[in-house]
């Protein structure tokens, strides 16, 4: 009993001290609205490109787009200038921001804005929004993004987290404090060997982003990262759709006269033919059809054989050539229908 009382007393003192020291240090006011704080800076590089070059097709997606569709080959096939905004590590939250803040705000409207996605990513608003992914989101976000904050962060918090976000300075400051601890550990030893912060960041960047991975470990790493997309909760389209950013993307596109096209890219997820995913896709198709948004589903296209992949989610060069051609045919069909 004594130990617990002593522990409680010391912990209370620490928490009170944190409540006094941290809010002014990080400029928090309490109680605060839950969710991360976005800065005022916003990148508009894609908006400027679209206004200056007036591409008629704009592609949005993550690394599967970068390695899946060759924008110049697509332009040749369709006869329309194409511009690819392929951002590795991006997902529906960032695509929503790109559509809202870079494409919808541009004075020139492309014929098609093509969102290349895989499986359930469109209805996973919390996928790839934390840690270094958040820094990426922040680059394309305005100071005030209530929809993003609510759907990608607040809705996904449990009641304990919500309370801590509102009232606990220590919890709210955790990212900053963690960064300081990590920085101390990460840069200390390399500095002793003459490698400063830039040198260390460069070395880690090269190693963590390099492709020299053991094939089994690569499959395992990709599988672990992707597994969040295949939970039973994620595969339930009806329960997820209104909580996701998909309705907002469609709404923004409609309001701004943007023709959205969704393209489902093929991946070797290991659940390609699961009944849950099939049910999800039928519901997605019906949802988009009801809203007159075309969906090109190449998720089970037999032409995209296993030898066209470099790993479980990315095409190799041959795969990119063929997939570009297939997407071009699909887009031309949509244009013809219109």
């Amino acid at each position: 009993m004594r130990l617990f009382l002593k522990f409680s007393l010391i912990l209370t003192i620490i928490l009170i001290a944190a409540s006094v020291i941290l809010p002014p240090a990080y400029r928090w006011t309490f109680p605060r609205s839950p969710g991360p704080t976005l800065d005022r800076q916003m990148r508009t590089n894609h908006l400027k490109y679209i206004e200056e070059n007036q591409p008629r097709i704009v592609l949005i997606g993550d690394s599967t787009l970068v390695l899946g569709i060759d924008a110049s080959a697509l332009a040749e096939e369709t006869g329309k200038p194409a511009y690819s905004i392929g951002i590795p590590g991006s997902a529906s939250a960032l695509w929503y921001l790109l559509i809202k803040n870079n494409i919808a705000d541009a004075s020139f409207k492309p014929d098609h804005v093509v969102v290349v996605f895989r499986d359930t990513i469109l209805t996973a608003p919390g996928y790839r929004v934390h840690g270094s992914y958040f820094a990426l989101l922040d680059e394309y976000a305005k100071r005030n993004e209530p929809v993003l904050i609510e759907k990608s962060f607040v809705n996904l918090m449990n009641p304990l987290e919500l309370m801590a976000e509102k009232y606990s300075p220590l919890y709210v400051s955790r990212s900053e404090l963690r960064k300081e601890i990590d920085t101390g550990i990460r840069y200390f030893a390399p500095a002793l060997f003459g490698c400063d912060k830039n040198c260390t960041d460069y070395a880690l960047g090269e190693l963590f982003e390099g492709a020299d991975m053991e094939p089994g470990a690569l499959v395992e790493a990709v599988g672990a990262a992707e597994s969040l997309l295949y939970t039973s909760e994620q595969l339930d389209f009806e329960s997820q759709v209104d909580r996701s950013l998909l309705p907002d993307m469609i709404e923004i596109a409609k309001t701004n006269d943007i023709n959205l096209v969704f393209v489902r890219i093929k991946v070797k997820s290991g659940v390609e033919n699961s009944p849950e995913l099939d049910r999800y896709l039928v519901s997605l198709q019906a949802y988009l059809k009801e809203r007159s948004v075309p969906l090109l589903d190449f998720g089970n296209d037999p032409r995209l054989t296993d030898d066209l992949f470099r790993d479980s989610i990315h095409f190799n060069k041959k795969g990119m050539e063929l997939f570009t051609q297939i997407v071009a045919e699909g887009l031309m069909e949509i244009s013809a229908e219109r």
Binding site: M1, R2, L3, F4, K6, F7, L9, I10, L11, I14, L15, A18, H130, L156, M157, N158, L160, E161, A164, S168, L170, Y171, R174, L177, R178, I181, I185, R186, F188, A189, P190, F193, C195, C199, T200, A203, L204, E206, L207, F208, D212, M213, E214, P215, G216, A217, L218, E220, A221, G270, V271, E272, N273, S274
Partner: protein, 465 residues
């Protein structure tokens, strides 16, 4: 359902409240049994169905031994076939599934890889050993089988231990299941430090070092230096991760009125391989000792084998089985045999498990040698494959590239920094178990937990075994 998830917190609060609200032991046991099956079926309902079916089979086989002792060999054989068959099927099926696909394809059957990939139900390895221990003790007459199906089923499925142990003996857990349980403040006082340490070791230590360790072991051809540093990192990670699970399991068990076994006793302070296995995953080691090592040694003694063989074969067989139990992969088998060879070699030169040299210098070198052997073993254990590990050992250069050197020294720094809290805890437990320093340590651990906590938590490493 991970112990570090919000879902578990809610689940446990409900179970805890109801458990202590029920006045009768029978109702408490029924609740814990229902809760355990719900916990196990959380991801896949059929896991719970499989657990139930195999529990029923073992319950009746054990009752069969009690009713017809003259046919006990048959009942034990049936139980062994059932339990080891199920374990082998789930554990090794995927290991051989590529061959199975090729075979089926060559026979003209068009198979989809998805159809032949079967997930290993979490915890199967652990509760299989629990059931086998129960059957063997019953057949030896060391245990009177319980008449109550609910009690036996709860012994097998007790949720704090279901996924990753400890592999509790029936002699310890069943009497507690059968006895009335009354709430005492002492239960809370035993539980809270374990729960704080469990969360701290998992979320602060293990998860932090995992990032660089995973990356280093993910390279196709890393340098020897990088693998060495990553092996040291993994040495810390696996201890923090696995002992965190045990701490949480024991803490949760205390809150439900059960005292369960400890699994770790400063394993990295061992001086000999036998000493290491007496301190690491203790409940598995003692299980293997009682049901594999001793029977093999007794059998060998009956054959009056040469003394050196009689010393060498039992640890080799035992540790081979330990390796196979840990995973489907040649590196696990060789890792097990590696310890078998080490234990036999130490014993052949006259160094027993309880050996302790007189001089401090000898003590230091004995520890350093054993720690190096342990870290080397973990490197082999964590390697993506045995071929990869052999390639690193014999073909890759030891000297790292500049980038690898940086990652290597960061991993070493992390291993050093994150091992300090564990060392400090050991010293505090030894010299100031109840003082202000101990209280301050736990308060600091909770503070760091709040800083390190994320909404998602990676699974405990031992789940996959």
């Amino acid at each position: 359902m991970a112990f570090t998830s919000y879902d578990f917190l809610l689940f446990f609060l409900i179970i805890f409240t109801l458990h202590w609200s029920f006045p009768k032991r029978r109702w408490q046991n029924l609740l814990l049994l229902a809760g355990s099956y719900y916990f196990y079926g959380w991801v896949q309902a059929w896991y719970a169905v499989m657990l139930g079916a195999s529990t029923l089979a073992d319950f009746f086989l054990a009752r069969g031994i009690a009713l017809r002792p003259n046919r006990k060999r048959l009942f034990v054989a049936l139980s062994l076939a059932l339990n080891l068959g199920v374990l082998a099927f789930f554990k090794y099926y995927n290991f051989f599934s590529d061959d199975v696909i090729s075979l089926l394809n060559s026979m003209g059957f068009n198979t989809n890889p998805l159809l032949v990939q079967i997930a290993l139900p979490a915890g199967l390895s652990f509760f299989t050993l629990k059931k086998l221990g129960y059957m063997m003790d019953t057949s030896r007459g060391a245990l009177k089988p319980t008449h109550t199906l609910v009690d036996f089923a709860l012994y097998v499925s007790f949720f704090p231990q279901l996924i990753a142990g400890p592999i509790e003996r029936p002699q310890k857990l069943l009497p507690q299941i059968e006895a009335p349980r009354i709430w005492k403040a002492d239960l809370f006082h035993k539980a809270w430090p374990l729960i704080v340490m469990g969360f701290f070791k998992k979320l602060v230590i293990a998860n932090s070092i995992q990032v660089t360790v995973d990356r280093a072991f993910g390279f196709a051809e890393p340098s020897g230096f990088l693998v060495l540093s990553a092996s040291l990192g993994y040495t810390l990670q696996i201890l923090a991760d696995f002992s965190a699970y045990t701490d949480l399991s024991r803490g949760v068990s205390y809150l439900l009125g059960f005292e369960t076994s400890e699994n770790f006793r400063q394993p990295y302070l061992s001086l000999t391989p036998t000493d290491f296995w007496n301190r690491w995953h203790i409940t598995l080691s003692t299980w293997l000792r009682d049901y594999v090592f001793f029977p093999v040694r007794r059998a060998l003694l009956r054959f009056k084998l040469n003394e050196k063989l009689a010393i060498s074969i039992p640890p080799l067989v035992t540790m081979f089985i330990s390796g196979v139990w840990h995973g489907a992969g040649l590196n696990f088998v060789v890792w097990g045999l590696y310890y078998g060879v080490l234990i036999a070699a130490y014993q052949l030169i006259g160094i027993r498990g309880d050996w302790k040299p007189n001089s401090k210098l000898k003590l230091f070198f004995a520890w350093l040698l054993m720690f190096s052997l342990i870290a080397f073993g973990w490197g082999m254990f964590r390697a993506p494959s045995l071929a990869w590990f052999v390639n690193v050992m014999f073909n890759s250069p030891f000297a790292p590239s500049h980038n690898e050197f940086i990652l290597g020294i960061i991993t070493l720094t992390m291993a050093l920094v994150y091992s300090l809290p564990l060392a400090a805890k050991h010293l505090l437990d030894r010299y100031a178990p109840e003082g202000w320093m101990q209280a301050a340590y736990h308060a600091a651990a909770v503070t760091l937990l709040i800083i390190y906590v994320n909404s998602a938590s990676s699974d405990f490493i031992y789940f996959q075994f």
